[in-house]
């Protein structure tokens, strides 16, 4: 490989985001989690399935926002889907560094997720807006 690109080119912010998301995925109720842009591009990745989850989140959010607009409602900021066997997918939109981002979490069971989402979003904002 050309010496211009080295293994030392590691973004501190990227590493810190990875830590935050690793901690999140390590919780007993969380099956998977990804941070992405509004249009579904991964900002951080832990597992090979993350880009797919990020893309799905971007698609769902776009569909939700279009639905809200069609109904003349306010701007949609969260999408929640629950399965029959208690699994739950939460896509939460927030602003970070002037851009919209989506925090997507797949829960193994139905839980009170609001506080966890709020705390994680705050950590991501603090990391990315340094």
């Amino acid at each position: 490989m050309y010496r211009m690109f080295t293994a030392n080119d590691v973004s501190n912010i990227f590493e810190q985001l990875t830590e935050i998301m690793t901690e999140l995925v390590g919780l007993k109720d969380v099956q998977a989690a990804v941070l992405s842009t509004e249009d579904g591009l991964s900002i951080q990745r832990l597992s090979p399935g993350d880009p797919q989850l990020a893309a799905v989140a971007g698609f769902m959010l776009a569909a939700a926002q279009q639905s809200f607009a069609m109904l003349g409602l306010e701007v949609a900021t969260e999408v929640v889907i629950r399965s029959q066997d208690r699994q739950m997918l939460v896509c939460h939109v927030f602003i970070v560094s002037g851009s919209k981002a989506i925090l997507t979490i797949v829960f193994k069971q139905r839980v009170q997720y609001a506080e966890l989402v709020k705390k994680t979003v705050r950590k991501i904002q603090q990391t990315m807006e340094k």
Partner: protein
């Protein structure tokens, strides 16, 4: 994409504007661990560069990046994507590294190289932040260029009138 006058009167940045531009690029490079960040104009004239290439290499890369971006915009033209719908971003993807280009206003391009140790999403977020920061400098530089051009025109008009007067004096009817 741009008016012909852009090529005749490229944007000029003052020393303090260049310092702000430099800070913006350094911040971007630091955030995404980019080994190369540069701002070039759409003619391929290198404005500012931060990275591991030599001056001649970076100058050549600026010209190539502008050419490649221009080709992309023309491809969009074929598809009817013009004006506000024209392509504004370009990505060259590889196994080891990628090159991302984003338009800043209508005259400048921000070129960013990044490795697989980061993601396109993160690069997009911070490139857009840098784009907005640089856009503010571009607006000021554009206003200064307009003022300078107006003064040039006035000087030329005054010179023309003075010359006519002199010629009239030299060669009266």
């Amino acid at each position: 994409m741009a008016d012909v006058s852009i090529h005749n009167h490229p944007l000029q940045f003052s020393k303090s504007q260049q310092q702000e531009l430099d800070s913006s690029l350094m911040r971007l490079a630091d955030r995404i661990a980019a080994p190369l960040v540069m701002v070039t104009d759409i003619s391929g004239r290198l404005i500012l560069y931060r990275g591991r290439l030599s001056t001649s290499q970076s100058t050549a890369l600026a010209a190539l990046a502008a050419g490649s971006f221009g080709a992309g915009v023309e491809m969009g033209n074929f598809l009817g994507l013009r004006g506000p719908n024209a392509f504004r971003q370009q990505l060259h993807e590889g196994k080891a590294a990628n090159l991302f280009t984003i338009a800043i206003d209508e005259e400048l391009l921000l070129v960013v190289a990044y490795t697989q140790r980061t993601t396109l999403g993160l690069v997009r977020v911070y490139s857009q932040t840098a784009q907005e920061e640089i856009m503010e400098l571009v607006q000021v530089a554009k206003e200064e260029r307009t003022t300078a051009n107006r003064l040039d025109d006035m000087d030329r008009d005054e010179f023309g009138l003075a010359l006519t007067d002199q010629l009239d004096e030299l060669f009266p009817d």
